[in-house]
Subunit: 219 residues, 2 copies
DNA sequence: GACTGTGAAGTAGTTCACAGCT
DNA sequence: AGCTGTGAACTACTTCACAGTC
């Protein structure tokens, strides 16, 4: 009930899932929810849910459950989602254009406000609402549009360069879609999504038919 | 050096990364590689690399390192990547079309051979090389094209339905891009990628400026 | 001397089980 | 009675440290 400081990474990785579930519960007019119900909806275990929420200094009520709206605020607050966070996509190839168009980002509070590329032939072309800008404009765009998160959607060979540009333009959070390891200063938060990797992991478990794949990643 | 049975999930999740690095090393004519070098290239620690590879019954040579081509085969074999694995994408919306077009899948051995949708208005339209087929044709397509993996790219509300269709069409490996929890029989390998979730996790670490985000997920 | 393979120690994450509130 | 919050036990993963091989 007090508010302990350090939230373990495994818990942080589940917060977006709690958020999603709580948004749905709020829509369907539920005002309280128990850890058991949250566990069912998210595919977790009830004890884990309670422990996770306890790190937020959650306000559950014994005998009753958690207040949906209150908890929703707590989770949003913990994730730092109190204001929309503008995203810039670097790389206007296939993947970059798709990401810039993907409505799921805007819906969840991450509007894609800019799309840049280093290739002058691509600069000026339109992708949905956006016009492709030159990568050199990054520092100006970051300031002008208040960008917070950079998405790297360039080929592996230039991913490190894209990351460096984003960091020197002042961004502190990067999501890398290129299938290669990119390094950044320790103050910069960095995650990677490798779509083909997911298929390879699936391939492993399908291959080993019978061995069921564990649920979802943590860390 | 013997070949112990159960590969821990955290190790499985890193195998694709080793694979990628080994492919690059092979291209650049390296014939051996040490655990330390692999660790550098992947952003790991050398002891972890050695332990991971030991689960494959790896053939490292003390004093020398690992044979690049031999290890490449071992990893490919462990991942079950000895033959190409056909993929079907369910959902021809924004995301589904982008995934069907994404060249990274084919490049890594997962050709997208079919794209289906339940909406008759979308059936017959073209996306890259593919013509959108009706979701009812799934069981036939699975047999005809030898599909192995299903990718779910429909809205949350219909994700469970899409999963059920894929499972009853005989697929044993599903990748879910919808931001909701989907259940499947235990024999079916199932993973989820939630793009907005990654941004939310980044938001957390950016918010808590100074707390550096740990590297990459395992499990 | 360089580098692997692996027990053992250390750390993180999960689950149990129950005391404590409503 | 129902459900939270949390120490304690357990399980998984990582890292150390060193014996063993080339």
């Amino acid at each position: 009930m007090s508010r302990p400081r350090r939230i373990p990474h495994a818990t942080v990785a589940r917060l977006p899932e709690y958020l999603r579930i709580l948004v749905e519960l709020a829509h369907s007019q539920h005002d309280t929810v128990s850890s058991g119900r949250l566990a069912d909806l998210g595919g977790f275990n009830a004890a884990k849910v309670r422990k996770d929420l306890s790190y937020l200094g959650s306000y559950g009520t014994r005998g009753v459950g958690y207040d949906v709206l209150g908890l929703l605020d707590e989770v949003r607050e913990a994730l730092g989602l109190t204001a929309a966070r503008g995203v810039v996509v670097v790389g206007a190839g296939n993947l970059g254009r798709a990401l810039a168009n993907y409505s799921g980002f805007e819906e969840r509070g991450f509007p894609v406000l800019a799309l840049v590329d280093a290739d002058v032939d691509k600069v000026g072309t339109r992708v949905g609402q956006l016009e492709v800008r030159h990568a050199d404009e990054l520092p100006a765009l970051v300031i002008e549009l208040g960008l917070r998160i950079g998405v790297i959607a360039v080929p592996s060979a230039t991913a490190q360069d894209a990351a460096d540009r984003l960091v020197s333009a002042g961004l502190k959070a990067l999501l890398n879609f290129a299938p290669s390891h990119v390094s950044a200063p320790p103050k910069v938060a960095m995650r990677r999504v490798d779509l083909a990797r997911e298929l390879q992991v699936l391939s492993f478990y399908e291959h080993q038919l019978g061995t069921s794949a564990p649920g979802e990643p943590a860390r």
